[in-house]
Amino acid sequence: MPKHEPVLLKNMLQPGYTGSLADYERAGGYQALKKVVGKVAPADVTAMVIKSGLRGRGGAGFPTGVKWNFLPKDYKGTKYLCCNADESEPGTFKDRQLMERDPHQVLEGIAIACYAIGAETAYIYIRGEFVLGSKILDQAVTEARAAGYLGKNVLGTGVNVDIWVHRGAGAYICGEETALLESLEGKRGLPRVKPPFPATSGLYGKPTVINNVETLANLPHIVNRGPEWFASIGSPPKSAGTRIFCVSGHVKRPGNYEVPMGITCRELIFEQAGGMRGDKPLKAFIPGGASAPFLTPDHLDVKLDFESVAQAGSMLGSGGVTVMEEGTDMVWAALRLMEFFHHESCGKCSPCREGSSWLVQTLRRILAKRGRMEDLETLVQLCNNIAGRTVCAFGDAEVAPILSTLKYWRPEYEALIREAEAHRAHELPMAAARH
């Protein structure tokens, strides 16, 4: 029996729960939708979500209801909701489980959000590799439509909510909300320049809200149990509710753990995930997906909520917690992540495009024992020249592994470089070699 009461994972933890419509209804599914559609004014649903303190689970942690309120007020035309199910952040695998194991919970959340913001069409932009998830969602949409929860005239209220599942084509950047919109429109998935923000000009130029799967999955519970209930979980007021942390790496029991925000890193890693694999000491961990800077054992008592993790110099991000044991080569770890970012930089803007290729090559060189001491200064400067100067937040993310490993484990870099220097001392000068 888990120590904390799960909310989002509750159904699927019941033995025999299949995620079918019947199972979901038996567990109280779609009651929230019935409660609000046609009965509560949309603006009051939004107010409820604001009151609950729900913040986005996609990465940036933006207050959800506040985001909805950015939609133009007197606008009568088409609006869209996009559910961001691109989940490509390394070390993150919660949305996948939510969609595969309890799809109706996500659909109900989407339907409630659509009702609140006045959108009749929602798209689930699902990561291309999630073939199973997309099939399950498609099937669930069909069931829900047949049961009158979706489609035209939801539950006979005259409200329309149509949901379409759209599979991506394999680019990390398409999780960035504006690149997602471009991709959904059939274009190359490149982030857009903001402003305009999607709330005013999003999908096909229409006002659009983009929310993460987990964010949306919280909505039925907020409706059913009330915003006050939600706001009492975790570390309110800024970090209310539970988070599904995806623990991976050198732990005994990797997996998804839904806990109230505000438990410590130590509790998550050592109690929930069973502690270190092979009982080696912990050396490093990433608290919020590949984009979040590394933390050290000194940070184990940091609370897992938005503010505390930020204060510790990292971020809660996507909730992907990757743990590394003593003996892990941190330069290698940084390179591994940098390879990912280099591979995924969309190439739209110069600092990220060129910077990622420069950084990755320099790291490879250092690891291959061909580094120079001045490379370290260059790395820091390049990182600082990327962060804050790019079109999208990818630029800020990609420098995290290098800057944080340089901050905490600089001697590892220096050792590699000293070895390189020792090698070079034995090399013949080039001019001499040519003779």
Binding site: H342, C346, C349, R353, S356
Partner: protein, 888 residues
């Protein structure tokens, strides 16, 4: 453009305060106070993409640096572009951009005019700390005219965005990700697009360059001359760049000319025609039946003498002259003065006869003025546009860009009536942007227009004031359209009544509407009538005479409009004024201090007719080649054979010139000075870029010398002298004007039309008689193609790379029915003859039609008959009924 009050915003940039219109981007505001923010991806024509990050600036109260190219100004904004932080940012972004750049400036054609070089010079140290491996792209063949060097690309996407946003061609796309992002075209074949050269011009570095001039120059070696392209009536300003008297390349700069820096393939790649090795370099005189070189003195004296003898013997009425409307205003003006004074006849005409006189007549009749009532800017700002009979992208590409701008940038509603279908292809198709498109064969334009008018009347969209102002006129139209039933119109056009009503509503319910007509209207029988009916549509919807609204007929030739204004069409004196307008005659003769000749003028068809009747003894053809350009049924060859003395003034030894007694070599536009008047009536300066080829001379100089030898001195120091004289007779020639002021309708003319003028031909114009068509025939349309226009484009090697032969394009269903597949040899035939050609199957061609490009129609011309407009003397020979079959 109307002066609407614009909201303004006050801000400070580097300590200077300024007020700019709301919505202005910081980078543009900065430019206004002389602050240049470095940039690559920004371009005033394109939507901000903010991808290069070069333009970062500091804005007070915003913690992060902002991109000046995408940030609109705000009230009280304080911008700093040169602080330490900003300078550092510029340096670092440039360091990133240079990291993967090959630095092959010594072999790059952009070197010396490259933004990357310039900014590097300003912002970066001379050494680089990048010691990693640079990315290298596999070099691949791109196209015969455009070279791509992706290693130099800074991925600003200006090329891709231009090709999409401005051209609507969408030929380019970035492919792959990150540093390996590469600009490519679609498909495995070479680039296939409009070849406007825009991507070359807009690329800030040397990643996309012209192959026509590759490795031939360094930019600082080039001499520049701003002049005007001669390929169509749009009148684009171009900069001819030369080295050692050779044309090296053509450019156009942003903001310059009516084209604002945009060009089409003809303008950008067509410049080699003028320096083709076949250019005539000396005068030729026929001796013993052969044309042999002669000196200018010999040739001119011979012409002057023969002219004098013939005049003495037969009088001046046996002379006639025709000049091409591709000449400068100065040439055209002096030609008619020469014919009227030195020769003494009004029998002169110009190639404006082939269509432009229809345009001018329609304007004069119902508007009282002879120029467009709108400008290019008005087209871009229009809320509704109706295009009739113009495949505008191929005929007048730059006017077409203004239409695209109206639709794509400002959301205008476009209605098109044209002989093509909305399908996607390698050349942009204006019909694709239309909210309502009516596919029409040439003989269907009229019923479509009548359908629109009927819909306006029946949907109650007619302008209210008109019913008080001109009740009889309104009633006459009402009666006329009632007499036409919807089933008749539907059968005649293939479009439903509902579609007409919808289109009529879209057109009528706007504040700014422009109608653009092209060759499909102006060069088909019934032209002047249809143009008048379109003016009815404007009158009925209240758009006539409203600023920013009106009828804009497209000129095909670069100086069509000038030819009419110079009095170089037979019914006009300079002004243009009617030939028998006594007041005008007095004015002209006072200025010339000479009596004007009496006697009628002759149109080109009439001149040929008289020549065939042997009443014409001498014919002076300047740049006109009737044998080579008219259909055989015009029997031009037979006519010219009957002329005793034929003088041709030409650039090349054309089919007609080969028959001449004397051939005088003239300069091309690249070698002379003067002015052209474009389709919208804008007078623009032509400047020579190279010295005359061989001994060729500007046309006006030849007229002047001949006149002197004939004892009627017409002496001018230079082209400017001539322009001064023109100014005294023709309004609107006070060069240079920034933007033309469109002519305002003359109310007396409009009223005259509304009170009784309409009645002259309204019955005829609103009557519809279905055409009789022989079963099993297709309508052959000989039409302008994008890659060729004028008489010399087939001498331009660049354009020949793009299109070197003609083929008949067929609708897929017709082709299938006839058992024809792409590439088959086919036989086209009718009563007049037959021709063999290759078939192209193209879904842009509507059923029942087939299309042949005008410039390769030598053979196909045999199938065309000529009909002549009784009102305007315009010869029509654009379409015919033909049988199409697979050749055995």
């Amino acid at each position: 453009m109307p002066n609407v009050a614009v909201e303004t915003v006050k801000l400070t940039i580097d300590g200077q305060s300024l007020t700019v219109p709301k919505g202005t981007l910081v980078i543009e505001a900065a430019r206004q106070v002389g602050v240049m923010v470095p940039h690559f991806c920004y371009h005033p024509k394109l939507k901000p993409d903010a991808n290069c990050r070069m333009c970062l600036v500091e804005i007070e109260k915003i913690p992060k640096l902002q991109t000046a190219c995408s940030t609109p100004v705000a009230e009280g904004m304080v911008v700093r572009t040169a602080t330490t932080v900003v300078n550092e940012a510029h340096k670092s972004v440039l360091e990133f951009i240079l990291a993967n750049h090959p630095l092959d400036c010594p072999v790059c054609d952009q070197g010396g005019r490259c933004d990357l070089q310039d900014f590097s010079h300003e912002y970066t140290p001379t050494t680089s700390r990048f010691i990693e491996v640079k990315r290298v792209f596999q070099k691949e063949y791109f196209s015969p005219l455009i070279e791509k060097q992706m290693n130099r690309c800074v991925q600003c996407l200006r090329c891709v965005r231009y090709c999409d946003e401005v051209m609507d061609v969408k030929a380019l796309a970035p492919v792959n990700r990150g540093t390996m992002t590469e600009i490519k075209h679609f498909g495995t074949h070479e680039l296939d697009c409009e070849f406007c050269g825009g991507c070359i011009q807009i690329c800030p570095v040397g990643a996309i360059t012209s192959r026509l001039s590759m490795y031939e120059f360094r930019p600082w070696m080039l001499k520049r001359a701003d002049t005007v392209c001669t390929y169509c009536g749009d009148g684009c300003q171009i900069t001819l760049q030369t080295k050692d008297n050779q044309l090296i390349e053509v450019n156009s700069s942003l903001g310059a000319g009516r084209n604002n820096g945009d060009l089409c393939a003809r303008g950008y790649f067509g410049y080699h025609a003028t320096t083709h090795p076949d250019r005539l370099t000396t005068p030729l005189v026929r001796r013993d039946g052969r044309l042999v070189p002669a000196t200018w003195d010999e040739a001119l004296e011979y012409v002057a003498e023969t002219f004098a003898q013939l005049k003495l013997k037969h009088g001046a009425q046996v002379f006639a002259g025709v000049i091409t409307a591709r000449c400068t205003n100065e040439d055209l003006y002096l030609f008619q003065k020469f014919m009227r004074l030195a020769v003494g006849t009004n029998k002169l005409d110009s190639s404006a006869r082939y269509g432009q006189v229809n345009a001018v007549r329609a304007l004069c009749r119902i508007q009282g003025t002879h120029r467009w009532p709108v400008t290019f800017e008005d087209i871009a700002a229009a809320e509704a546009l109706l295009l009739v009979g113009t495949n505008i992208t191929e005929a007048n590409p730059i006017t077409g860009l203004r239409v695209k701008e109206a639709v794509k940038k400002h959301g205008a509603t476009l209605l098109t009536v044209e002989s093509l279908q909305p399908t996607v292809g390698t050349i942009s198709n204006i019909a694709n942007l239309a909210a309502h498109h009516f596919t029409a064969h040439p003989d269907q334009y009229k019923p479509v227009v009548l359908g629109l008018i009927k819909a306006v009347i029946e949907e109650g969209l007619a302008d209210q004031p008109l019913s008080q102002k001109a009740p009889a006129y309104l009633q006459a139209i009402r009666d006329a359209v009632h007499a036409l039933s919807w089933p008749t119109i539907e059968a005649a056009t293939g479009s439903s009544a509902a579609s007409f009503k919808e289109a009529a509503r879209a057109f009528a319910r706007t504040a700014r509407a422009v109608i653009i007509v092209g060759a499909g209207v102006l060069r088909e029988p019934g032209a002047s009538g249809l143009a008048a009916t379109l003016q009815d549509l404007l009158l009925l919807t209240g758009h006539h005479g409203r600023p920013g609204c009106g009828l804009a007929p497209l000129a095909e030739q670069n100086n069509d409009q000038g030819a009419v204004e110079m009095g170089t069409v037979t019914e006009c004196l300079p002004g243009p004024c009617d030939l028998d307008d006594q007041e005008a005659r007095a004015r002209v003769s006072a200025l010339w201090q000479e009596d004007l000749p009496q006697g009628p003028g002759l149109t080109i068809p009439e001149i040929l007719e008289e020549a065939r009747g042997k009443t014409l003894k001498a014919l002076y053809l300047v740049g006109e080649d009737p044998v080579g350009s008219l259909p055989e049924s015009a029997r031009a060859k037979e006519a010219l054979e009957g002329v005793e003395f034929l003088v041709c003034q030409e650039l090349f030894l054309t089919e007609t010139a080969q028959m001449a007694h004397v051939v005088l070599p003239a300069c091309s536009y690249a070698e002379k000075d003067g002015t052209f008047t474009n389709t919208e009536g804008h007078v623009q300066q032509v400047r020579h870029a190279i010295e005359p080829v061989g001994e060729s001379r500007p046309d006006w100089e030849i007229f002047s010398d001949l006149a002197g030898l004939m004892g009627y001195p017409l002496e001018y120091g230079d082209a400017k002298d001539l322009l001064k004289e023109i100014r005294a007779l023709v309004p609107g020639y006070n060069l240079p004007g920034p933007t033309p002021k469109p002519s305002r309708p003359d109310h007396t003319a409009v009223d005259r039309y509304l009170q009784q003028g309409y009645a002259e031909d309204l019955g005829e114009r609103y009557r519809y008689t279905p055409p009789v068509k022989a079963a099993g025939r297709l309508t052959l349309l000989v039409d302008q193609s994008l890659f060729h226009s004028g008489k010399f484009s087939t001498k331009a090697k660049g354009l020949l790379h793009l299109q070197a032969e003609g083929a008949v394009s067929l609708n897929p269903a017709d082709a299938a029915r006839l058992g024809i597949v792409e590439g088959d040899r086919v036989l086209l035939s009718n009563e007049l003859g037959h021709c063999r050609t290759t078939a192209k199957v193209w879904d842009r061609i509507p059923a029942g039609l087939c299309r042949f490009p005008e410039h390769f129609d030598q053979e196909a011309r045999r199938l065309l008959s000529v009909s002549i407009d009784v009102a305007t003397g315009v010869p029509y020979y654009r379409s015919a009924q033909v049988k199409v079959e697979k050749a055995q």
